[in-house]
């Protein structure tokens, strides 16, 4: 019984983020979103690929501003340690993002292949056309 109470008390201390970490996290989140905006502005990142990153930045900001949110999510997941919950969520998010990029990459690889094939076939036509013209000129 006493051990349980102690564990519960220990729980309380691990849950709470210090205000210092919260400020650092908030600054990082804002800086991250500014970076995304800057990349879009300079045409280094297309809008359609930036939405997901922007949402991630907002999530970071929300987590820093309302630590209760994190606790809520941890409880929903049935995880006692908020930090573990945080790391798990971030890990899953990154996994999802990596998969998303693999899908995009596969699609683009297929598109590039088809593009190369079309170009190669164009080359056959134009060359055989030239040769046909040449032989015609020779005959004339």
């Amino acid at each position: 019984m006493r051990a349980l109470v102690l564990a519960a008390a220990g729980d309380e201390t691990t849950v709470r983020l210090t205000s210092q970490t919260r400020i650092v996290a908030a600054i990082l989140a804002v800086a991250f979103m500014l970076l995304i905006l800057e990349l879009i502005r300079r045409d280094r990142l297309q809008e359609r690929y930036s939405v997901i990153w922007f949402v991630a930045g907002l999530g970071m900001l929300a987590g820093a501003a309302f630590p209760g949110l994190l606790k809520l999510v941890a409880d929903l997941l049935g995880v006692r340690d908020t930090n573990v919950a945080l790391f798990s969520i971030v890990l899953l998010l990154l996994l999802g993002l990596a998969l998303n990029f693999s899908v995009i990459m596969s699609r683009q690889a297929a598109q590039i292949t088809r593009l190369a094939q079309e170009r190669a076939l164009e080359g056959v036509k134009s060359k055989s056309g030239e040769e046909a013209l040449e032989t015609k000129e020779e005959r004339l």
């Binding site: 690889a109 292949t113 190369a116 094939q117 170009r119 190669a120 076939l121 080359g123 056959v124 060359k127 055989s128």
Partner: protein, 242 residues
């Protein structure tokens, strides 16, 4: 009956002219297309000197993409049937003519030239000797492909094939870049096409060497099995043009 014979070639400047000449001799009525898969050497130039059609891919993309280019050309230019063979001189064009005859007679949609179909010939032949890792790989692929298609295949990786327009329209849209030979057989059978093997004689390669080391072979085999497994769960195409 218009026929296209296409030859995928990657860095085959040494052997391409001889192969083209050989095809011309045995298949005089066929148009010839060399698909240069982004060679670093003079494959395209050598092929053009022979006066055949040449499609040059701007960069190397693997055998699957090169073969698909050939099928795409045959489909768009309205050829009735097509065949392909390797550019390294392993495939005698006289045998390709026999494959084409099967397709022209409409006995099959896709015909594969098999080294192993006729066991007596394999035993007696000095022409073609597969290495140990190749034999293991062939065995594994043969087993799984036969399991997947419920049809007996003896030479799953053969690059000597003949096909009609049904196959052209299927392969020009769906052709795996990584596991072209094996997956295409599975695909064709799944789409209800008639696939047939014809025993052929193949020769020792004229130039170049096999890229397969034991470790690579093992990985290749593993990848092939995964590809076949996934292929079993792929949705069928709505309708192959009939």
């Amino acid at each position: 009956m218009r026929t296209l014979v296409f030859i995928p070639a990657w860095n085959e400047e040494a052997s391409i002219a001889a192969v083209v000449a050989d095809v011309r001799e045995h298949l005089p009525q066929a148009d010839i297309l060399v698909v240069d898969d982004g060679s670093a050497d003079a494959t395209t130039a050598r092929a053009r000197e022979c006066g055949v059609l040449v499609a040059t891919l701007p960069f190397n993309q693997g055998l699957g993409a090169a073969l698909q280019t050939g099928y795409l050309y045959a489909l768009r230019e309205g050829y009735d049937c097509c065949a392909h063979l390797d550019a390294d001189g392993q495939h005698p064009p006289a045998e390709v003519a026999r494959l084409l005859a099967e397709v022209e007679a409409d006995r099959a949609d896709l015909v594969i030239g098999s080294r192993y179909r006729d066991p007596d010939a394999v035993a007696a032949s000095d022409d073609y000797r597969p290495t140990l890792s190749r034999r293991i790989g062939s065995g594994v692929f043969r087993f799984f492909l036969t399991l997947a298609t419920r049809q007996r295949f003896t030479d799953t990786t053969s690059g000597m094939r003949a096909a009609n327009r049904r196959v052209m329209s299927l392969f020009s849209e769906n052709y795996s870049p990584d596991f072209a030979e094996i997956e295409s057989l599975q695909l064709a059978v799944r789409e209800g096409l008639r696939v047939e093997e014809v025993p052929v004689r193949m020769l020792e390669r004229a130039g170049g060497s096999s890229f397969l080391t034991p470790l690579r072979s093992a990985f290749f085999i593993f990848k092939g099995v995964v590809v076949l497994l996934v292929g079993q769960f792929r949705p069928r195409q709505a309708e192959v043009e009939r």
